[in-house]
Symmetry: C2
Subunit: 237 residues, 2 copies
Amino acid sequence: MSGTLYGVGVGPGDPELMTLKSARLIANAPVIAYPAPESGESFARSIAAAHIKQGTEELPIEVPMLPDRFPHEVYEGAANNIARHLSAGRDVVVLCEGDPFFYGSFMYLYDLLAPKHTCVVVPGVSSLTACAAAAGHPLAGRNSLLTIIPGPLDDAAIANQLRSCEAAAIIKVGRHFGRVRKLIEAEGLTDSAIYVERATLEQERVIPLGDIPENRAPYFSMILIDKGNRPGQADPA
Amino acid sequence: MSGTLYGVGVGPGDPELMTLKSARLIANAPVIAYPAPESGESFARSIAAAHIKQGTEELPIEVPMLPDRFPHEVYEGAANNIARHLSAGRDVVVLCEGDPFFYGSFMYLYDLLAPKHTCVVVPGVSSLTACAAAAGHPLAGRNSLLTIIPGPLDDAAIANQLRSCEAAAIIKVGRHFGRVRKLIEAEGLTDSAIYVERATLEQERVIPLGDIPENRAPYFSMILIDKGNRPGQADPA
């Protein structure tokens, strides 16, 4: 009997924003895996820590921070490790920041393992809705379009989307912050943009984009834009 | 001391996909409110039922299903009822299907109540990521755009988005199913589209769009499109 691979969303950061299901699966898992920096603590593991039982086997997946190169070999190595447990009949729970299928790295493991093993994806609270809650502003109006724009896209692609969108969330801002802010300014959208950093964590920061003094942002940051409404103002009826 | 209004996401349907935080707030709430049909059970309440304590005061918000007219008076009446509790110092927890700020009706109450009362929004698992999990397919590739398209939009708006999108989720499909399917066919995207109905519930149904015999869909349905990949196929590296 082969084990089951679970991709489990642990939510955006506040450990209380994990689902009951994720908490149960993590507590019962014989083996857990999670992305981890080359040194320091895994964010996903820190969110789930209270539910990890002593004796659980842990497989940290050490992902080097290479901005321009995708570390195939890291995910292939991790998938091989996980596959060994699955083939031996042990379930493996992969902890995923936010939601496993909302721009998460879990999809690489899924692609490598799903063809040969039973995989179950357990959705979690994504950074998208966590940032909207933190900003105190709905993501989009009643029947508005909402566009998710990854910050690493090139200038033309981002500008094009900013021009045509109704509401947008720019994700993976991080080191692209200065460039993305200039593009938003060039489209005259700064007053409709709100910046959210480390949503749901103690260090959460919500601030109108135009009021940010510095020109850089951490990895866990997002910019929300709503052309229909300036953030903080009520929707017109 | 005025009470606090909590907009609490209860997730997409499976009661185990509620967050620990939502479960705690619901269990401790002196007053809960939730959308309800004119007859029959409230879906949001049914998700949260196990956490509602005896003696909790309940305010069902009876929302008539009027496809083309927004029931302002219903939300105004509900906001007045809720405001009376808040002014008397009682916290009110509003149960929201999915996430409160992902196209939810909570935003109407929020607009009416947030200017005068303390409001806290607690994000939940949205139908967006629940449907992706059910479909076994990531919403979008690594740095792909993702567009959320409400089904009630007119033909030209939907066709325009289908043409320019990379990945898309068409929400609120319901009675627009036949029309939306034709638009997807016209753009040659049927083979890239997967239909998900009642994600995470017992009656969950996941099926390639082209394989659906009937020409209607329930309210809780979504169509996911990924031009980069046919659903079920692995991402190219």
